[in-house]
Chain length 346, copies 2
């Protein structure tokens, strides 16, 4: 079968080994797979991703996936929907023909593996992948598998909101309206937060932010999102969602935050970052860092997409075949043009 | 009257203006005043303290004290006990002869002023000071005013513990056993936290940490405090109290923290600091920054000292007259020798 392979810091389409399911596993054909910002980062700075997964694994014991070796081939892609082709022994959840989504984790006798960041199991930039039967959730009848593929990134936003201090009595500011920021906005709106102020340099993304539920949208060149919150509300307790992940964003949020605010950091800054703790101390800020989601949030998110609570169709700004993955990575470097690009491998 | 005056980055004993109380104020003779690490910092980097108070004032409106002008004289000292000498009009709380402690704030028709960081009102490195009648709390009969002077720094530790997520089901690690770290340890012990692991390079401070209630005390050169926690407990949810305030401490705590831990930052790092957000994201850490205390915590702390819940006597490692303040500042630069030095101005 064919896949877009990360090899020596480049993406090349190549033939890769055919898959067969072990006990408890299924083999599925990929219907759609979103390109994630982490994949863009991994292509050029895989070492940083590896360092992060080692830190994450510190207290997880056998429940942490082994980090990938970026000097060997990796097929990335962890935001997928897929149709089951073949099932292994002891499979009771899935049957051939089922359209499913899954946590990007696959188990075997050797432990657990991160689908999309593993040397053995391919991710969704491939015609097929291997999934763990028990981790698959069937996509409800009638839901477009392209939309189901957004379950994973949308779950990241739901988790960030769930982990934050935000209630309907709060106001929220969202810094950055890429897919993660948009997912946060959708979760805030679904919760019923009345004031959601979003900031992004890209007009395309600002328009998406308003569609997803932001009540005030600003270009940070004209007015910072926190300043805009002071203009439209300024009184309710505030949670600032940092969904950019560039160096300097935390310092900027700390400087602008009102006393006692929470800054929920869901943007992943992969390099060392600098801020002034004394400002955070003086204002008694709270920085909560968020990563991923739990299995219930993942399933909850699929339900929200299926029921139309989240209208994710506008987030899909392009679809490409396997041959177009490398160019899509390049295109995503320009945030003006895109939110989520889907890979359609078959 | 005489005072140790901060002037051009030095401490000089000089005659300063006699005080008289305005309505609602009292004039009191200083019985004892502790030297705080912030004062050491202010002597050489007053600009950073000013910047911090401006940041703190951002959302406080008229309830924030105006920052001092370090190019003019300042009499520092905000950890004091004092005996009331004279009362102004409309004073109903204090009477001459009362021994009191007070929040280091004094009000007048012009607003509120930070006692110890103000150009007009002197702090406790002075023979006398002006206090707001309503902010004074009488020291219970029989309590040594030297011990009462530790109310302020001990309240900082109580507040940090109250603001943290710590419960009796948690374990705690305390990084740094200066006065703030010791105050945190005392508050944790009073709460009933069963595992309190403390780390400090100074043998004197480690001994004090054990006296205040630390259950395990380590020299970070031999074993980090978080590593020691893994050895003696390693399973309960953890709150790490960062009470050092040097650059690099947050990065170090982030690197060592177990997944989901809270880092309560009560040490004030006055310069820009660097850490890797991706590690904090991967472990979903929470950084809560703490500053000061509220009036109830202040009064609560005085009661704890009076009742013997906090045995603060061992924390007092020296007492000096006004003439000895400059040398005491120098001596405190060597943490091996001292915890709290009291100034006895009269």
């Amino acid at each position: 079968m064919r896949a877009a392979v990360m090899r020596d810091g480049a993406l090349v389409v190549d033939e890769v080994e055919e898959l067969s399911p072990q006990p408890g596993q299924v083999v599925a054909e990929v219907l759609a797979c979103g390109i994630c910002g982490s994949d863009l980062h991994a292509l050029h700075h895989a070492d940083q991703l590896v360092e992060m997964s080692i830190a994450m694994a510190a207290d997880a014991g056998p429940f942490a996936p082994a980090p990938m070796d970026a000097s060997l081939d990796v097929v990335m892609g962890h935001e997928f929907s897929a149709r089951v082709l073949a099932v292994g022994e002891n499979v009771g959840n899935c049957a051939p023909g089922d359209v499913v989504v899954s946590l990007p984790i696959v188990m075997d006798a050797g432990g657990i593996h991160a689908v999309g960041y593993d040397n053995h199991y391919p991710g969704g930039y491939s015609q097929q992948l291997v999934l763990s039967d028990v981790l698959c959730t069937k996509v409800p009848n009638g839901l477009d598998p392209r939309l189901a593929a957004l379950t994973e990134p949308m779950a990241v936003g739901l988790h960030a909101v769930n982990l934050s201090a935000v209630t309907t009595g709060h106001a929220a500011v969202v810094l950055g309206c890429g897919p993660v920021g948009l997912a946060v906005i959708a979760a805030l709106r679904a919760m019923g937060v009345g004031t959601i102020v979003a900031g992004d340099f890209s007009p395309t993304r600002r328009e998406l932010a308003a569609r997803m539920g932001a009540t005030e949208v600003v270009d940070p060149r004209d007015e910072s999102a926190v300043r805009a919150w002071r203009r439209v509300d300024g009184s309710r307790p505030l949670v600032i969602f940092e969904a950019v992940g560039n160096p300097g964003m935390i310092e900027s949020a700390v400087l602008e935050a009102p006393r006692g605010a929470q800054i929920l950091v869901v943007g992943v800054c992969m390099v060392a970052d600098t801020f002034r703790p004394m400002i955070a101390v003086g204002k008694e800020l709270n920085l909560q860092f968020a990563f991923g989601y739990d299995p219930m949030e993942f399933v909850d998110t699929l339900g929200r997409i299926a029921e139309g609570t989240y209208d994710v169709e506008p987030m899909i700004t392009a679809e490409v075949p396997l041959d177009g993955v490398a160019d899509a990575f390049t295109a995503l470097a320009d945030p003006d043009a895109h939110a989520k690009i889907l890979v359609i491998p078959n």
